[in-house]
């Protein structure tokens, strides 16, 4: 099971690395969003400081949608979804492998974004532990919800537009929780970031389990 | 009555939506029923319940 997970994750990441889309397109997109927000908010330093957490995670949401689309397209475009089943890999392993691949890509983007907000928004990081933990835990939840919904829309006509409609409301708790945790980590608001981290962990756990169970049904029947 | 505008808006929206949706359902039902051949016009007692 775990070797299968590693297999699928390595395959997705290898494809991603070779195409260099993440590095050459997604990361610049994320940076661009940060810059655009700077323009939109009139380079107003106090406002940018207050808004940093929110802007960070909204950007991650958009990048996540792109990452999930690409993750699903790897199999869908070549009609290879059946091949995954026929290869004898357990659907749950496929799910976890793809989840890990999406999560790794998101973490790469988040590293760049952290550097971005430090440089562009003058963010001062009070608690690196909380910041990094939040990134990790929230990303797993995002990747889990994203991967299962990505598989869900895989066979559907207008899948590029319907995926955000499904994914973003489901990710609302992550947006709320990760933003509050970041506020604490950046020292801008007095909230208990670690409590929010617990909620994020709960979200992640629930959606990983749900995804593992639902993935088989989706692969076989849709 | 105070706030009458808000009350009319809220109640009107609710009841209006109900009436419109009901009319829509009935019309849709009639159109479909006319298209389905008679032997197949059954409901609520499916074989695979």
């Amino acid at each position: 099971m775990f070797s299968d997970v590693r297999l699928v994750a390595a395959k997705d990441l290898r494809i991603e690395f070779r195409s260099r889309v993440t590095v050459s397109q997604v990361v610049p997109f994320a940076g661009l969003v940060l810059v655009l927000f700077g323009f939109a908010l009139d380079a107003n330093r106090p406002v940018l400081e207050t808004a940093t957490s929110g802007l960070f995670w909204v950007t991650v949401m958009f990048v996540a949608t792109m990452a999930v689309q690409r993750s699903t397209a790897i199999e869908t475009n070549d009609g290879a979804r059946r091949a995954l089943l026929l290869a004898g890999i357990e659907p749950a392993a496929v799910f976890l492998g793809k989840l890990i691949a999406v999560a790794v890509q998101l973490l790469v983007v988040e590293v760049v974004l952290v550097a971005g907000v430090v440089v562009l928004y003058d963010a001062r990081i009070e608690s690196w532990a909380l910041l990094l933990s939040t990134c990790l835990v929230a990303t797993i939840g995002i990747a889990a919800a994203g991967s299962v919904l990505g598989a869900l829309v895989a066979g559907v006509r207008a899948r590029e537009t319907v995926l955000p409609i499904l994914l973003l409301p489901v990710l609302a708790p992550v947006l709320i929780g990760a933003t509050r945790a970041f506020d604490d980590a950046l020292g801008s608001v007095a909230v208990d970031g670690w409590a929010w981290l617990g909620l994020l962990a709960g979200f992640g756990a629930i959606n990983v389990v749900l995804g593992a169970l639902a993935y088989g049904v989706l692969l076989e029947e849709t | 009555m105070t706030h009458l505008g808000y009350l009319l808006a809220g109640w009107g929206l609710t009841i209006g939506s109900g009436v419109l949706y009901s009319a829509h359902l009935i019309r849709r039902g009639r159109t479909l029923a006319a298209r389905v051949p008679t032997p197949r016009r059954r409901w609520m007692t499916a074989d695979d319940q």
């Binding site: 919800a145 299962v148 919904l149 869900l152 829309v153 559907v156 006509r157 207008a158 319907v162 409609i165 499904l166 973003l168 409301p169 489901v170 609302a172 708790p173 709320i176 409590a195 929010w196 909620l199 629930i206 959606n207 749900l210 639902a214 049904v217 989706l218 029947e221 849709t222 | 009555m1 105070t2 706030h3 009458l4 808000y6 009350l7 808006a9 809220g10 109640w11 929206l13 609710t14 009841i15 939506s17 109900g18 949706y21 009901s22 359902l25 009935i26 039902g29 009639r30 479909l32 029923a33 006319a34 389905v36 008679t38 197949r40 016009r41 409901w43 609520m44 499916a46 695979d48 319940q49």
Partner: protein, 264 residues
Amino acid sequence: MTKPMAGDSIEQSPVGRRVSTGSRATFWLGAVVALGVLTLILLGFFGAPEDDQQQDAVRMIFVHVPSAILTYIAFGATALGSVMWLWKRSVWWDLVAHSAAEIGVIFCGLTLATGSIWGRPTWNTYWDWGDVRLVTTLILFLIMVGYLSVRSMGDDDATATRAAIVGLIAAVNLPIVNRSVEWWFDRTLHQQSSLTDGNLEDLTLFTLVFGIVVWILFFAWAMIHRFRVGWLERELRTGDLDEAIAARRAEALIDSQPQNGASS
């Protein structure tokens, strides 16, 4: 109403001359609902007293609360129907899930709209981000709009499975959504549950409960019709196929029998 002419294939139904998804039962149910709505209007506007602080704006409660309760009943039915479809592949339950989702989205939208309209004169704001129930209901609304969106993309079993999983995802994630919004702000403008408070005047309480009953009856009426509409759509889709298969089988039987006067 036109008289059926010779050659018409329109059948008599218990109600009127056109065939519909209605029946004698739904006719009377609908009549009761209509009567109930009229009574509710009278009670709500002229019977129940105004509030000390909100004055007449409190009368919004008679449309807002029943809509909210129906939203949860409807989406509960969708969640249950989704599970039953995934578990037993029950077409009946799948139709229940779809019908309840459509009705539920309408009620949910009305809950949000009436709540928003109510909020303006009462708290001087159309929207309050600090209101847990309001924000959770909004997220629920968005997810279920997504459910209907997935449903509209096809009418086969695969679509039913996809929608059922969206329904499951919604049901499973909703407590977390609620908890996260609850923690988000400690205060809420939303008035505490009036029903359990016991602070309502007698006539107000009666009118409120009356309103809930009328809404539930409407839900039953709408579900019956919407279910039958869904059933008919399914019959149209699969019926042609079944007929074609039967016709092909009959053809095959004829082909396999020796023909009269056929030359070999």
